[in-house]
Symmetry: C2
DNA sequence: CATATTGTTCGACTGTTATCGAATTATCCA
DNA sequence: TGGATAATTCGATAACAGTCGAACAATATG
């Protein structure tokens, strides 16, 4: 609704690359399932951090999770915000819509 | 419409990996734009081969195109059929629909 | 201030991928 | 059968990616 810039094949390829790693895809899916678009992630409980939760949930060490989060953020799939010690994450609904449109033909 | 098997995160990741290379994505996009779903690819003229055409159109050597076609086919994004000397390619509409649904939330 | 918690950065290792040209296979046709 | 055309396979090379643990930085709290 708000994102109407045209994307190049190279940009799309970068986004798909970000989703091409199973762990990174699981992180994305988990965020997509637990986050109300446009708001922060809360996962199950309200007072737990996203990065830590994701690692615990998916059994990945935190440095790897951090690496993946950075990559997802770089291509615009997710957004982050610091809240105290924690980094809260949520998916960018505009980019998800653009991806859905990509496969609509 | 006809494909209602559930896909694992690993399978989705493999598909996104297939689309993560710019040249492979261009091949897929070109096939998607020129092929009527369910039928064979004809590109511009009727009597030219898909693999050769794709290489000429995108300026990639044929061994590389062949490699990419093989990968796209392996993950189920496209289907192929031999017609004489040529290999005709077209996208699998069911998988495209599954991808569209993946981003529908 | 000292300590605990959360996340990032760094270095290393391992494995994978994209690309090309050469050789090979398959098909058609004269 | 022999030549032409189309595509695949193979080998090599160069670049990149995922993962981990250790060290570091930021924040909160006693």
């Amino acid at each position: 609704m708000s994102n109407n810039k045209t994307m190049t094949p190279e940009e799309f390829a970068e986004i798909f690359k970000a989703l091409s790693n199973p762990n990174r895809l699981k992180i994305f899916t988990l965020l997509a399932s637990c986050c109300i678009p446009g708001t922060v992630s809360v996962l199950d409980s309200d007072d737990t951090a996203c990065v830590g939760d994701l690692g615990r949930e998916l059994d990945i060490v935190k440095s790897t999770v951090s690496h993946h989060i950075k990559e997802l953020r770089r291509v615009g799939l997710i957004r982050t915000r610091r809240d105290g010690q924690k980094i809260l994450c949520w998916v960018d609904p505009d980019l998800v819509n653009a991806l859905r449109d990509f496969f609509a033909f």
